[in-house]
Symmetry: C2
């Protein structure tokens, strides 16, 4: 088992399994063939063609969102969408563009719309070795229960930017206050595209590093993390290489940390596939 | 003009303009159609088919290199390759694999083989702002004469690894000794693929950061750099955005520096296209 296997696991997406979800001429999602078919009975909101599904609902963001919400309720009743999360993500063709509609987080994989999140590497460095604060996800989490996680991570809900999401999640998930999170450094964006039970996970992770003060211990406030542990990076990397203890996408965030901080190095034959593989091209 | 234009400029490669150069079943280069045709008269070394060119020369690395060298000499005589550089690059299907042959650097674009180099961001940080040591390339350089450059950069010649190349070039180009370059941190790999006058430039740049001591001024020893200047990063980024003063691929290295150090940030609408665009997928 090698580091690149963790990357391949997150990039299981196969173009032949899906059709594009279009808003006008722009793609905003990927629909698995069975998911596209399930939209045929909502012909007022979606036109299901052979090669694509077209969003028909018109109007401003509120109006389109209401129309799609009605479809999502039906999909939940049919158990095609597990449940409504009561947290909505903006849906736009590209990052930074005006959203066409808002979509409940629970329905994001069904429609295969691109989702954006923030991940924080909370690290310590003694001048020689790095350690990372690692959280263990609560056993009742819907996604990856009990798996190991970054000290802070969360999806960017509608109306929030990346920095605001980071500050909010840092406070809720790890009791990192505004002053401390203000020292976090934006370090890049990682991308992957994965087939999941419910559809497609087309994810962008905005990555931040924060050097944690020696006297600070993260403390969870929202019940999503069972506990935190400070782990030597070398041990973390060995667990990433040899186990699936870490949440699927957190492996990528930590591999990127190791690439950016010279822990993995170019003369390692696997280096280039890791460093390059963390960045799936955006279409 | 925007940052992404600098990235697009380095990614002018169009698949329809080339055919693959194959060694057995593996691709090792891209040949422009006119370049492929020029190999027809070397039928003992290359078989030129309709959709690909196959390397016929067999034997160990030395034997294949000798056969290809003969062809390169003819291509120089025909002015299809500008000149022999007397510096050879390893040619292999993937980084870390055994080379199939060595190719003179001057012929690398003609055959469109992937080339690997190192680039060093020599920076200073005052706790608030970054500055970069920037070199100006000598006016007699074959590629990008007079353009602005990283403090150290160089191609990885055959038999050298990335770290060894960095140390060698640091000494020759900027009088950075072994002790100082030993503090450089490997930070990732950038990739692009560009059509050039002579063929295809399929490049991997291994990127390093080095915090430069306040009392150190780089000094060129090999005549390739006309002079160095310490520039505020904000000014460097503005010149990258609004001018073509920097060598085409150096723009990418400095944009990556700005992404990794939180100078460019996710809430900028252009951020994702920059952060992602620096990493062209390897095939």
């Amino acid at each position: 088992m090698a580091f690149v296997d963790r990357i391949l696991h997150c990039n299981s997406f196969t173009r032949g399994h899906v059709v594009p979800l279009l808003a006008g001429a722009r793609r905003v999602g990927w629909l698995r063939h069975d998911n596209a078919k399930a939209l045929q009975q909502h012909a007022d909101v979606f036109h299901v063609g052979h090669d694509s599904v077209l969003l028909l609902a018109e109007g401003d963001t509120d109006a389109v969102s209401r129309a799609v919400d009605g479809v999502v309720d039906a999909l939940v009743a049919e158990r095609r969408v597990p449940k409504v999360r009561n947290e909505t993500f903006d849906v736009a063709p590209r990052w930074g563009e005006r959203p066409i509609f808002r979509l409940d987080r629970g329905a994001v994989p069904f429609f295969g719309v691109r989702a954006y999140g923030v991940h924080l590497n909370g690290y310590r460095y003694d001048g020689c070795n790095y350690s990372l604060w690692i959280g263990q996800r609560a056993k009742n989490k819907q996604v990856a229960p009990g798996k190991l996680d970054n000290v802070v991570a969360g999806g960017i809900g509608n109306g929030y930017g990346a920095a605001a999401t980071l500050a909010k999640e840092a406070e809720e998930e790890a009791a990192i206050d505004g002053q401390l999170i203000g020292r976090a450094v934006a370090c890049g964006a990682l991308t992957y595209c994965m087939e999941t039970r419910n559809g497609v996970r087309d994810d962008v992770m905005f990555v931040y590093d924060l050097e944690m003060p020696p006297d600070f211990t993260p403390c969870n406030r929202d019940g999503e993390i069972a506990g935190f542990e400070l782990m030597p990076l070398a041990e973390v990397l060995e667990r990433i290489r040899t186990t699936t203890d870490f949440k699927f996408n957190v492996n990528l965030v930590i591999l990127d940390f190791a690439v950016r901080h010279g822990i993995l190095r170019p003369d390692d034959p696997e280096y280039l596939d890791v460093a390059n593989g963390l960045h799936r091209p955006l279409d």
